[in-house]
Symmetry: C2
Subunit: 71 residues, 2 copies
């Protein structure tokens, strides 16, 4: 399987800490245009868990949905 390359362009915050540190970052995968990215990372960021990528419009939609919720 081809090696997957990632570059964390910008770090926005830690969502939770545990087996992985779950973070919201701006990540470029395999040299492609960077996307917002929610996933878990090992401390050295050499390994990561499954996660999702979102574009800016999607991230805004998610933020607006969350702000309407009673959490």
């Amino acid at each position: 399987m081809a090696e997957i390359k990632n570059e964390i362009v910008q770090h926005f915050g830690v969502i939770s800490q545990g087996e992985w540190t779950r973070e919201l970052n701006l990540v470029s995968w395999n040299g492609r245009k960077e996307l917002y990215d929610i996933r878990g990372w090992a401390d050295d960021h050499a390994k990561c868990s499954k996660g999702i990528t979102l574009n800016k419009t999607e991230l805004k939609s998610l933020r607006d949905i969350l702000n309407k919720m009673e959490l």
Copy 2:
């Protein structure tokens, strides 16, 4: 591979529409305790794409991070 069962307990909103409809829901997977869930769904919700599950604390953290960002 065992069939994966899901129950969408509560729907909070549509994040985006395209090949999949990406949604934020509260989902119980295989009868387990429901978790917040961000992923894409087919229109009939019979199929879904990869996504992530978050507990309440994580969802609050994500919301707070998003509210500090200039989007």
